[in-house]
């Protein structure tokens, strides 16, 4: 039965950003399902909420942005319920994007399933009590009971139920304990015992605000909700919070008993991880581990196989062969031999022209086949028809882009998201943030920004999406700028490393020094120049635990899917654009335009300009284009500096425009052109 307690009308507009002004209608009404009972999962970060969501909804899950924001809401269905997952939050409020979105979704919820960490009731109960004060129908899952037991934490569940006035189900989500009673438990959700004086005040407000939940938001000073109903926001938030906190503390005193157990191994490791002496070596070990697994294994071995063998050697030629049968093409075959040192070099090259495709010229086709069959070879297709070339040619949307997205990007994204999930679930990530906090505050960020910064080395696009978790717009701006300017993604890194290896140790040193200096300079400068203050680190450190494979896999799967959905279209569009540029001759025109900069200011050969333009589509193309140019070591440093500081790929640009808005995004984008060529030229002045 559809029961919801907000006074909304069916065609309400969904725009919930607080700073966009007047919204007299409900924020989430049109976003949430109107035909089923809405079940919303709510809980603090890291309580295991996603396991519940996945259990309820299975594989068919739709992830989409809450309208007007970049916060993602997952939705699925289970029986009669439309199930929504919300971001982990410490409370319902308007303090940041995630809490604002969670607030709007919760206001529209028919039933709230509140997942709570049994080991950390003192942190989690505030949110629970706030939900109860809101008058929502709540069912609580007391999760991680096994861990609580192991740590000697005893909870009087019956007493907790009595005090909250809502049903409480002990669970162990990862092992599925308690899940057999989950459906019945959710159905038994009820409104609980709000704090009595508060409840009376909310009751008095009802005729003006439509629901107890919205009334509470108004009393707690939420300007957006207050404006929706044309009432002034309350000024009592702090008192209400203190009152609620005291109520939580009293409940904890009566409900939780901790047997003094020896500090567990996990707790000791957790403490060491964040300590000044042991913490640093642990950090270096973790970073090294990341480098080995992702940098060497995935970016190296796996990608060499998937991109090199499957993509470049199998899939693309097969597709192009098929097209070449009917479309006019010039096919150039390069026979390759490995010389004594294992280096590949071209033994012989031959071009075959098929004006009407290979099917129309079986004799010529046979000649080409026999030349190919001789051994290892590289094969290049140039199609006569510009349209065919755009879709199936060298930068073809259906050839190169598919290889790039499926065989290069996907393994890397999976690797990085899996690593992130392991770091999160093990409880190490907040400790990592704590260790680097001081360093990052110098750049106007705080410890949490380490997440997008690390992910940036995987894929700047992916990292830009992650900047959403930062506290203020100011920090998002700074982090995005640093990411777009100074962080080479893994696609680029492999090529950069190879080029630097060829250029010598001194070259590598100069390159690293320049990039690091720019990185620090940007952060420091932005911190000085941008108005406002960044949010300080205020994190709870969850207990360290062994990550559960199933949970890691589920998180990785959801995030990878969401990212691929968001970024893939842009790679196609970018490839189309470059292909079109190449076919129309504009690419050459553009290179000519850049020539004075390239040769005069940067002192590089003019073809380097082409490499830069290529870098707009795929960053590794930018770098790889430099291979063929036989640059001197110092020239290599200049060129690599430029492509690193230069804009990241098109997908990254598009995501940034979405996250930061068009105006700010374009400023950052154009700024990186200026920075790249500016710094590159300065370096050239010094070392060339």
């Amino acid at each position: 039965m559809l029961t919801h307690d907000s006074g909304l009308t069916p065609d309400d507009v969904t725009d919930v950003l607080p700073h966009t002004g007047h919204r007299h209608h409900d924020g989430a009404g049109a976003f949430l399902d109107r035909h089923h009972t809405r079940l919303v999962l709510v809980g603090n970060p890291n309580v295991g909420k996603s396991v519940f969501f996945n259990h309820l909804t299975g594989l068919y899950v739709d992830v989409s942005n809450f309208p007007g924001t970049t916060v993602e809401i997952s939705r699925g269905s289970h029986g009669p319920w439309a199930v929504y997952d919300t971001p982990g939050i410490y409370g319902v409020s308007s303090f940041n994007d995630e809490e604002r979105v969670a607030r709007d979704v919760i206001l529209e919820a028919d039933i709230v399933l509140n997942v709570v960490d049994a080991v950390h009731l003192e942190r989690d109960l505030f949110l629970t009590m706030q939900l109860v004060d809101m008058g929502k129908r709540v069912a609580v899952c007391l999760n991680m009971m096994d861990e609580a037991r192991a740590r000697g934490v005893e909870i009087d569940v019956a007493e907790l139920e009595r005090r909250l006035g809502v049903p409480v189900l002990p669970t162990e989500a990862v092992r599925g304990v308690g899940f057999d009673r989950l459906d019945a438990h959710i159905a038994s959700a009820t409104t609980g015992h709000a704090e009595p004086t508060l409840h009376r005040r909310l009751h008095d407000l009802l005729d003006r605000v439509g629901s107890q939940a919205e009334g509470l938001m108004v009393l707690e000073g939420d300007a957006v909700i207050a404006e929706r109903h044309g009432v002034p926001p309350g000024e009592d938030r702090e008192q209400l919070y203190v009152q609620r906190r005291n109520r939580v503390n009293r409940t904890l005193d009566r409900v939780v008993r901790v047997r003094e157990t020896k500090r567990s191994l996990a707790a000791r490791i957790g403490r060491l991880a964040v300590s000044p002496w042991a913490g640093l070596p642990m950090l270096l070990a973790v970073l090294y581990g990341l480098y080995v697994v992702i940098g060497t294994f995935i970016a190296g071995d796996v990608v060499n196989f998937t991109e090199g063998t499957i993509g470049n050697r199998l899939m693309e030629p097969a597709v192009k062969d098929g097209i070449a049968r009917i479309a006019g093409a010039e096919i150039t075959v390069e026979r390759i031999v490995a010389d004594a040192e294992g280096e590949d070099s071209t033994a012989a090259t031959q071009s075959f022209v098929f004006p009407d495709g290979t099917d129309a010229d079986p004799v010529g086709a046979a000649r080409m086949e026999s030349f190919r069959a001789g051994g290892l070879h590289d094969i290049h297709y140039t199609f006569r028809n510009p349209a065919v070339q755009i879709f199936f040619g060298e930068f073809g949307a259906f050839t190169m882009t598919v290889t790039y997205v499926l065989f290069l990007l996907l393994p890397l994204v999976i690797g990085f998201y899996a690593a992130l999930a392991v770091l999160e679930d093990s409880g190490y990530l907040p400790r990592l943030a704590t260790l680097v906090d001081r360093t990052l505050t110098g750049l106007g960020l705080n410890g949490r920004a380490i997440i997008p910064l690390i992910l940036g080395f995987g894929c700047v696009t992916m990292a830009t999406i992650t900047t959403r978790l930062l506290g203020t717009d100011r920090e998002k701006r700074i982090a995005t700028t640093i990411l777009q300017f100074a962080i080479p993604c893994s696609a680029q890194l492999a090529v950069i490393a190879a080029l630097l290896a060829g250029a010598g140790f001194k070259a590598m040193l100069i390159y690293v020094a320049v990039i690091l200096a720019v990185f620090v300079a940007i952060g420091t400068a932005l911190d000085r120049v941008l108005p406002g203050k960044s949010s300080p680190l205020l994190l709870d450190l969850p207990p360290m635990r062994l990550p559960q494979l199933r949970n890691v896999a589920q998180k990785t799967w959801t995030r990878t899917l969401s990212f691929m959905k968001e970024a893939t279209p842009w790679f196609f569009i970018g490839a189309l654009a470059v292909s079109a540029l190449q076919v129309s001759g504009l690419l050459d025109g553009f290179t000519n335009l850049l020539e004075p900069l390239t040769t005069g200011w940067l002192k590089l050969p003019r073809e380097a300009g082409t490499a830069f333009v290529m870098g707009l589509v795929r960053r590794d193309f930018g770098a790889a284009g430099l291979y063929d140019l036989s640059l001197s070591p110092m020239q290599t440093v200049v060129a690599l500096t430029v492509i690193t500081l230069f804009v990241p790929c098109i997908a990254s640009l598009m995501v940034m425009l979405k996250e930061r808005g068009v105006r700010e995004g374009m400023v950052i984008w154009l700024g990186s052109w200026v920075l790249a060529f500016g710094v590159g030229g300065l370096v050239a002045l010094v070392i060339l």
Partner: protein
């Protein structure tokens, strides 16, 4: 019997040494920060102890049963008194 001492210097969480316990006197002035602190149990009158002090000022506190990490600027703006201060 404690000596009656003249005005006790105002101490912040940054002055708390490892293992030392203290009571929170006041939270920082920013209303959003205050609310976020209260939610996590950092209220005026709450007792905390310092678990870790990192060079640079980041602090890890232990409350009832939680560990909280606070950045330097936040730690510096939360004033405390120890039992000895209260006399």
């Amino acid at each position: 019997m404690t000596d009656s001492s003249p005005a006790v210097p105002v101490r912040s969480l940054l002055d708390l040494r490892r293992g030392e316990r203290a009571r929170i006197v006041a939270l920082p002035p920013d209303p959003v920060l205050r609310s976020q602190c209260i939610r996590l149990g950092l209220t005026a009158g709450a007792t905390v102890s310092c678990a870790v002090r990192l060079p640079g000022g980041t602090v890890v506190l232990e409350t009832e049963r939680q560990e909280l990490a606070l950045g330097r600027s936040l730690a510096g703006s939360i004033t405390i008194e120890s039992d000895t201060d209260a006399g």
